[in-house]
Amino acid sequence: MAMKTSSAKFKDRVDEGIHNDFMRLAVSSAQERLHGRRLTAVDELGSWEDWRSLGEEIRQHVLSNLDFYLHQLAENVSKRGGHVFFAETAEEASGYIKDVIVKKKAKKVVKSKSMVTEEINLNATLEAVGLDVVETDLGEYILQVDDHDPPSHIVAPALHKNKEQIRDVFKEKLAYTKTENPEELTAHVRGILRKDFLSADVGITGCNFAIAETGSIGLVTNEGNADLVTALPKTQITVMGMERLVPTFDEFEVLVSLLTRSAVGQRLTSYITALTGPRDEGDVDGPEEFHLVIVDNGRSSILGTEFQSVLQCIRCAACINVCPVYRQVGGHSYGSIYPGPIGAVLSPLLGGYDDFKELPYASTLCAACTDACPVKIPLHDLLRKHREVIVEKEKMVPFSEKMAMKAFGIGAASPMLYKFGSKMAPSAMSPFKTGDIISKGPGPLKTWTESREFPAPSKESFRDWFKNRETGGKPS
């Protein structure tokens, strides 16, 4: 799956989202569960603001010295016998991986969860040459089985489905015969996946954080599937976004703690694994061959811009879990593998404004995302900055909006004009009002009044009241 997950129009995707009651109930209950758990996990740690500052500092330090740490990481991976490939584009990355696998004459590939492999459209590239690619994260597996349904969340990709829907998918595709009980559903998949793990030739993982000093790959999961993906197949390929690294294990520890608490409200996940290169002499398991693919795909052009802080992201989805817009429309409405506030900032940067220009507007700028972010990315401000770019550089806004804002600029800077306008407002609006309310608004007010009343302007403005009062006129 590439970045873009839908060719439907944004408005149509939203319309589908807000009319999908199943999805909305699943999303709102997940948000509430995760919100509560995150707050508990954060409280428990104590001094959360200090931890956030530390997280921000680590990420900013890495971004400021990215060339140094990438070089160090590559050197250390090579020293341990691994192969490192820097891919400038998505095509280069997935092409390299395909070539490695084809050369191995492999048939089956098992994968652990990875957003960057979605971003580079890896599965489609591998399937096109006849490879059997199996997702082993339960959520990703469900979506894969369900005819490649796109993910709707970066941590819980199948969040939009409830257990009954999953049962039905399994019945149709996997000859499943039991109930919607989550343990039964999971046990069924476990039985299937065990065989896949044992028969796979290549294992592919993402990377939560690479550790530059040791050339290690840090993986965080709750299912343990990444450990099987990396322990059993003879060849391991790890794909990482070029910014996903830390200097040493000290910083790894801090970021993992921020990640697990923010993502799922856990102190730690069930499995936290650091792998260093291929199998050493005397090791009982691990791959014989190891490849690290470091993906740029637009990231380096974000460096040094006003959007650089988005590269601090550790993909925890805390912003998604608190977003009141995501809550109403669900992940698919964003039309990107990266939904929610982080997706609305990242997608136009990595995928271009043509496909994602509406996303920065899908926010009230309420700043819940900024508040929740464990590495202090000013998400709401980056959304606003996107709007600035769309207006000033991309020039993608409707003419009527541009004219209205130009008028605002002139009117709001001129007391005379404002006064004239505000005096005219009550009579200008009077054809539309009933009593003190407007139920069918003209122009841009139409969408407002579809779901709520709009107030008619006060008969006497505040400033007139104040003036009358000061000059001894009769207060109303």
Binding site: V14, I18, E32, H35, V322, P324, V325, R327, Q328, V329, Y361, A362, S363, T364, L365, C366, A367, A368, T370, D371, R384, R387, E388, V389, I390, V391, E392, V397, E401, M405, K406, F408, G409, I410, G411, A412, A413, S414, P415, S422, A425, I437, S439, P444, L445, T447, W448, E450, S451, R452, E453, F454, P455, P457, S458, S461, F462, R463, W465, K467
Partner: protein
Amino acid sequence: MKVTLFATCLVDLFQSNVGKATVELLERLGCEIDFPESQICCGQPAYNSGYTKESKEAMKKMIQTFEDAEYIVTPSGSCAAMFKEYPVLFKGDAEWETKAAALAAKTYELTQFIVNVLKVTDVGATFEGKATYHTSCHMTRLLKVKEAPAILLSHVKGLEMTPLPDAQNCCGFGGTFSVKMGDISGQMVEEKVCNIEDTGADFLIGGDAGCLMNIGGRIQRKGQPIKVLHIAEVLNSI
């Protein structure tokens, strides 16, 4: 104490009652109110829509308007937060950056001013009824005013406050968002209003005219008897 009132454009045009209540309340607390007529709008609608250049014209006008003020008080967390943001916007423009910083330093949201500057926690108000409070996003998250409204309301005689479920979620106003993404905004305000209904409160109190216009509009459309009030109106009830 001399207070210069920034009424905000929404209050001036649509909710003059809130402005009146703010004036009377502050006067009762011993303040002398000044209202410079050249004030218009903080510029937020244009700024948040990406029209930074256009918004700066409005902002410069506001900086000039309030240049001589000692304390600027506004019955809006959102507009106060916008004033506080001015220095960032004028960064690099030496003359205006200094002026913007001066403006930001003396700007207070109404309840913040009463609690932190006037050092008053009981304004002597009496208001009979059961109410719930909408914590507006910009007031709590951008301006970081979280306690002051609750402190003041807790001292209002006769007022029973009941907590609002999912209070942290935005009501869906978001300025131009409410018309640009009217369908999503409508869903958000519906959820907010359902939560308000569930509290069994007769009154919904808030500190930002934008949110109140949004929530109030939905309550009216549904024909609910819940009355929407700005906190200034409650604190001004004696």
